[in-house]
Symmetry: D2
């Protein structure tokens, strides 16, 4: 290949820059030209690309966000926009595309692949909810950020005898909630995968108060049955031993300097994506399975397991008692 | 004095523990017994106190929250509860009280003083809105926490071409907003002290977009005319170049390990409070003015200046252009 | 079992407290009494133990160091001291022992096992150099700490056109160096596993200067052929394009709040250690292999792989060019 | 003025970038051209300057180091080099110079001033040892970094019953040592301003051990009578209750994202420096005195006070007991 392009799509995730850097330098090493596409698929539609150099990607490894921009692109759902995009890439001499993003981005990438244009997807989403891979770029960092916030919130919850509800990201996966909740010793973790009724929450609070704890931390995925606001109201309307407050971590989970493991994963996946393109692969996902990089056909991905393994669940139950 | 008591009241602030440690050790050095009152003035009403030792306050310097608990106390607003509290303290041999907290706590402390019981107040509130003192315990840390969050949010705002509204604490003072906003180079800072109309916000956004910026960060005090939610709606309903999102930092601003300057201020103020009691002072505030500790009569405090000094305002205006 | 004991031995590692908490609460859940042994095996020799309660281990999850103390114990190398230790434990009704530590600690634990006393070892060492397990408690945190330090050092190296040598821990393993070096984009990583001659270092520096970089970061394991001090001298005596400085990260790598993954690993391993004791196992290591907890006979452990996988090495080579 | 230049000289300090940004944008607001001089005074000697734009200084506020480079310049000590530098500036149409740096940089700046070229100095040095100003850019951050390191070191010192010596920067001033030592509750602080004999150190260690402390933290300025290495040896050779280890924080104190107060100070000082140039001032220092920016003649600066105020000293003595 003489030229490739790289884009980040969907929500940004810490480590995307490390991946852009790796893709760029791996392609340069093969003497190819590298184009960065601005703002995801919309940069293809609007024909906004810029050439990436080795110096141009220096010093971005440790930064959150994505220098290329990211985001969704409605027009790309239309066949004509996709065809024009591929034509645009071909006219510029581009012969392969790396897409960094989550589930929606993978769908967009596969549409490009179906048009006969070589494309490889790298999983980048803090939610860690993509099928086929044990880990997506950004998830480690999001867990660290959430854990540090919960550590802080426990200080203030303890000082005021409170139930503190912390709403973390994860519409379809409880990954961030489970990992940050176990890591911070949260008293309760509510996820889409493991629903619980309100009485269960109340009973657990009562039992915890009996054990003499001054706080009751609840980590709540976006995908849980209630929002933080709603759950706080429900707790405060009933007769519970702790007064509830809630905090929504929000966009801070996306930003900030990536954790070591995200930078390493992103670097390795970026190099693997370029390798895959040069090996003639297309319509594939670069995945992490049992501590190894693997290249999987993107149309046959199995769903990842519940973030709650049996061992982890038991460890949480025992140690927060 | 043979015995004193210490309590933290109102919202907790990082550094309160450092102050409790300093009060305890300064009183022990004078061979006095030290009692910690639980959960603010309500611990006086409910007679929940525990003896503090030098070892007992070891290792709390670097922790947020307050080991004594904090919080408001409705019953204390009644004269009878206050009289009973003072009687309780006297019966236990306590001869002086240190109160750590904000404006409301100072009022409670002054009521105790009026009953003839020696009491000294130390300013502890992240809002930094107390009259008489340039700095309250916790404010430095809150600014650091807010600034770090804004640094993170800029990454993700830039990746998505967004106006990101960050709501920080400060019902009556823009201190946290001004300091964290200048420190993070936020494009706009909205505070109770300096109202601005919506057209002003829109014009600034338009001008910023013209200069080619990919993000527009607005730091918003609680006390501003709109909430983060409302302002985001107003921006998105009008024809603006950035799509707005908002994040409420919330309780994370209160917690976490205190910044160096808060630990030092809290340590010095705690020692000064004990000194003041031994010098026979009561009804006074330990204050920080122009880099020195001073002891002020608490009933004659002048309001602090606007957090916006003229120089600072100009520096912000010029450097965010 | 009616009572067990737990000790931490060798150098402390962040996450040891999380493990002590998990061991304690898992044993309490089985209605056993839990004894904490002070300062490693020397607490057995000197008969210094204290009972651990659920409240007593509250709030230690997020702290570095080890509340029990750690450290080596010369006397324990003598058979008589070991026999007396076991007699002491039996007299107190203790029926099982959990040892948290590295290679040396495992040897001590196996000596106890050979005396017929049930003992289970949990790997805790920042060096991540224990056979049988992919990960030891503390290694993730050490990598994060080293990476953050290198991020800082790059700022100042760049400002001064310098070769900055960062000496990290790892006498027998390059794990910390490799992971933190790849994560921070260090130009060169020197480890015990992959020796390099001085000319190789110089050539790489010359090539890097040609590419226009303002800094040259070398991450150096303790176990590398030179110390940081020596390598800096060798670089400065020869004719090299960068002036070298060195920094030894030292003990800061051991301390501080554990990373999320260390807390989770430590929690799971602690529970698994108690499970193993109750299942009648002894002379075993709780290990982490391919994302699962396994229990291995401690006398048949295979050495872990080189921290340099082929993929990782290639990724580093390409992306730092 | 139609054009000015800005340079950073001596050791880099966190916040220098914030100052470069402020100088640039303040001069641009006055419609002047701004030149950045590379690598301090040597960039003047070697005629390496580049034009700075508003976009070019975007996003540098939160980064350590200095985008312009810094460092000392031997040739500038010669009169001829200085004259050529001024000629070079004049030929390029530059009419004023802002120098950011410490004592040595101020001397260089004054030499330029004596040649009739307008120059204003901004204090930037983590040591905080410049006469005339209460605070220099970078000092707040260095204190925070040192304090966080000491927090970490305490964990591991406690686990091993150790005296941990932490050597921090400050050849002529104990500022970093005093502030980080008080903030972290270090048992002893050794500075150039307040020498202590070895017997004093030993007595304090013995007394501390009697009080039951598991660690003894000594913060040591570079300018103290012994190095960390030497003091550890002296302690271990004598009969002391703690085994000593030492750590030299080194260059990490210089790097990393600047603290909020350093960013704000740097921003305000940068704007004030440009104002001073436009007001026709030269040979002056922008200083911080009692919470205000002042402009002082650089040849009549009084030495700053001992970092040990009496109050602070007493607070430290009492609270570490």
């Amino acid at each position: 290949m003489r030229a490739i392009a790289v884009l980040a799509s969907g929500g940004d995730a810490p480590g995307m820059n490390a991946c852009v850097r790796a893709v760029t330098r791996a392609a340069l090493e093969r003497d190819a030209v590298v184009w960065g596409v601005e703002d995801g698929f919309s940069g293809l539609v609007n024909q906004r690309i810029e050439q990436l150099t080795s110096r141009g990607v220096a010093g971005i490894l440790q930064h959150g966000g994505c220098i290329l921009g990211a985001g969704r692109c409605e027009p790309f759902f239309e066949a004509r926009a996709r065809e024009q995009s591929v034509t645009f890439l071909r006219e510029r001499g581009v012969e392969g595309l790396v897409v960094i993003g989550g589930d929606g981005s993978l769908k967009g990438a596969q549409e490009v692949h179906k048009l006969g244009f070589p494309v490889v997807t790298v999983p980048g989403t803090i939610d860690n909810d993509m099928p086929g891979t044990d880990r997506s770029i950004g998830a480690y960092t999001a867990v660290d950020v959430a854990m540090e916030a919960i550590d802080r919130l426990r200080d203030t919850a303890s000082a005021h005898h409170r139930a503190m509800i912390v709403e973390v990201m994860g519409r379809h996966s409880g990954y961030i909630a489970v990992m940050s909740g176990v890591a911070s010793g949260a008293e309760m973790i509510l996820t889409p995968e493991r629903p619980i009724d309100l009485q269960g929450v109340f009973q657990e609070m009562a039992a915890t108060e009996l054990r003499g704890k001054r706080h009751f931390i609840i980590v709540l995925s976006e995908g849980a049955p209630w929002s933080g606001f709603e759950l706080a109201q429900l707790i405060n309307e009933a007769d519970n031993p702790y007064e509830a407050r809630y905090t929504t971590l929000g966009y801070v989970q996306r930003g900030g300097s990536p954790a070591a493991l995200d930078r390493i994963l992103a670097t390795r996946m970026g190099v693997a994506a370029v390798d895959a393109l040069w090996e003639g692969k297309s319509g594939v996902l670069v995945a992490w399975q049992q501590s190894h990089i693997v290249i999987l056909p993107a149309d046959q991905l199995s769903p990842r397991a519940d973030p709650w393994s049996e061992q982890l669940d038991r460890a949480h139950e025992i140690t927060t008692t």
